[in-house]
Amino acid sequence: MTVLQAHYDVVIVGGGPAGLAAAVGARDSGCGRILIVDREKEMGGILNQCIHSGFGLHNFKEELTGPEYADRFIRRVRSEPGIDILSESFILDISPDLRVTLMGSSIGLVEIRAGAVVLAMGARERARGAIRTPGYRPAGVMTAGLAQRMVNMEGLLPGKRIAILGSGDIGLIMARRLTLEGCEVTGVYEIMPYCNGLTRNVVQCLKDFDIPLHLSTTMAFIHGRDRVQKVTLAPVADDCQPQLAKAWDVDCDTILMSIGLIPENELSRQLRLQMDPITGGPRVSSTLETSLPGVFACGNVLHIHDLVDYVTEESMRAGAFAGELAQGRRRPQDNIELQAGDNVRYCVPHTLSPDREISVYLRCIRPQRDCILRLGNFLEKPLRLVIPSEMIHLTIKPEILQRFYGTTLRIDIVPREDA
């Protein structure tokens, strides 16, 4: 059992890939007292339920499953002296002077002091309430991620005949998973005219099993009083409104929703952190520090990542900066504001400093071929294709920012002239 100390250099909220990597980063920066807290029975976060392969291609140059990727980091964290791991405990509150209140089955209610805090609470799935589906409220409607946890960890099947609403990767992966478990998947229904998941998942999760993908289609009505009995589907017109004259019914006992993730930010809001309404996460500086000094954020709580490798990269940095601060080393303040311009939905971090190399993550608004990613007049990076579901990574060298004397830099994605 973990015996808690009264003071830690760095306290990390959440033990998913972000929290684990932040602990490694903090340790590498020289901290000797680090605490990771997670409300689950074990560390690893969402990776424990993602049993398919496709994790770690960048970091380990091999394709691991989610649990295998988590295992590498859990071993690393366990082998480091000075990192305490606390499971089945919940962080309730963080005060502006970094006193952390936590509660857990083995510790009761305790307060500890922290030199710095890293928020790594991950994300939650959008549920039915986030989109308006008319109809009854029977049992059998759930998020794809919940079904993933039921099937892969708890050994429960959500139903026998499954309809999947939304073409996010989790939904596609669950279509294959449930088919392999003997369920019948009637189809994946996506309101947009394009699929939100990776081509790879369309081919290997749907085509391989002859599961139809209906684009520009939405769920018009859910039938069934106690349990889902059938669903009415309808093609949508350009204004995304269902065309009821062309609707059809599909019998099913379960509906899975795969309609995106939202950062889990109850704690951030409680702390009154400045938030970015687009990412749904806190605003951060180039050291990934939020508007509350000493509180850092990384992983899905900061912005939704599609690749766990990027979560790891970002979180190692957040942990290292938190560790530096806890040891009394403060970086110069950022003096450049970073702005999202043409075809850029958001970029993280929100401010920059010319004192070191900086990693920027961004997403585009719409797909674009043969374009250029441009940072002010200072940096151009040609890109063959950008799509909203794939995060773009940009490294900015300090020399570039040292030549810049303004206060605001814009990132744009523009067509390539010669293309």
Binding site: N48, I51, H52, S53, N152, L180, R200, D208
Partner: protein, 129 residues
């Protein structure tokens, strides 16, 4: 006999649409790929399509009732259903170490099925009796 196969390359987000011209059992031409990776993928998909299979098996006395497993190498695509079904009624007992071989030579493929996580044993109430 000449025929044409449509294929989407899955090796990167470009998702190139490729056309394979097949004569008998040989590929005569591949069109639509942007790079060499696509060529290799198309050949492999046409001659011997393979997939990694990941699924779960029941696990007694473990932290969770299911243990995630995978085939140690990619298996022939056509055997996915058969192999998944053959694992439906298999049960192992915790503790299990990550990488442990759960089934050797699954369905005669000479490929092993291995555990993709360690499953600690959880003491059951029944153990106390």
């Amino acid at each position: 006999m000449k025929s044409q196969i449509e294929l989407v390359c899955i090796c990167c987000p470009m998702g190139c649409q490729m056309q394979l011209h097949v004569e008998g059992r040989a590929i005569s031409e591949i069109e639509g790929n942007t790079c060499k990776i696509g060529l290799n993928y198309a050949r492999q998909e046409c001659i011997d399509p393979r997939r990694m299979l990941s699924t779960t098996v029941a696990c007694k006395n473990g932290l969770w009732p299911r243990l995630p497993v995978k085939t140690a190498e990619a298996i022939p695509k056509a055997m996915m259903g058969e192999i998944a079904r053959s694992l439906h009624f298999l049960a192992v007992t915790a503790p299990v170490e990550i990488g442990a071989v759960i089934v050797e030579n699954i369905c005669g493929t000479s490929i092993n099925v291995v555990a993709t996580r360690s499953m600690p044993k959880v003491k059951l109430e029944a153990d106390n009796n």
